[in-house]
């Protein structure tokens, strides 16, 4: 009788589909180990938060922060709710901001903050959020 060296696990159809997208020609073992490697590589990275004040064209200022951990997120401070929020398009006046203003804001982050000397990042606007992703797998420091 053949000895099985594998375990059968149960996953949702959605999870299996997501794994299949990453799988390509690899095995599921390889894909899952790659996921685990990434998780473990950055598990001990402490959260670093950089806060900035950004001046709007109307003369008012907005507070925002960039949080670096396993992912990079931008949040702005909503003074009405006394809360940090991540819907970056709503940060300007509570309504949608123009692409030009958002572009100016991103350029401000790149130019006026020193974080770009530490990280390699690309910006992409996805729905209402500024999506910051690392270029390849650049280390934090």
């Amino acid at each position: 009788m053949a000895k099985h060296n594998y375990h059968t696990i149960w996953v949702s159809e959605e999870t299996k589909d997501r794994l299949k997208k990453l799988k390509k020609t690899d095995t599921f073992d390889k894909v899952i180990n790659n996921l685990l490697d990434l998780e473990e590589k950055y598990a001990d990275i402490p959260e670093e938060i950089y806060e900035y004040e950004y001046m709007l064209k109307n003369g008012k200022s907005k507070l925002f922060r960039i949080i670096f951990s396993e992912t990079v997120n931008i949040e702005y401070y909503n003074r009405d709710d006394f809360d940090w929020q991540d819907d970056i398009r709503a940060w300007y006046t509570g309504n949608r901001i123009s692409d030009e203003e958002l572009d100016n804001f991103i350029k401000f982050i790149i130019k006026d903050s020193n974080i770009m000397t530490l990280y390699e990042m690309e910006f992409e606007v996805v729905q209402n959020n500024v999506w910051i992703k690392r270029v390849g797998a650049a280390p934090f420091k």
């Binding site: 060296n5 594998y6 375990h7 059968t8 696990i9 149960w10 996953v11 949702s12 159809e13 999870t15 299996k16 997501r18 794994l19 997208k21 990453l22 599921f28 073992d29 899952i32 180990n33 790659n34 996921l35 685990l36 990434l38 998780e39 396993e70 992912t71 999506w131 992703k133 690392r134 797998a137």
Partner: protein, 43 residues
Amino acid sequence: MKTLNIDKETHERLLSHKTSKGEPINSVIVRLLDTWEDFYGKT
């Protein structure tokens, strides 16, 4: 639900990432996938 066959070592690594004893393996994998997609973007 669907089945996946994985080797013993992979299974043990997944178990070590459970946040609680009763957490389903599927939840662990979902969490790993979310981190991957946050890092590299969705495929």
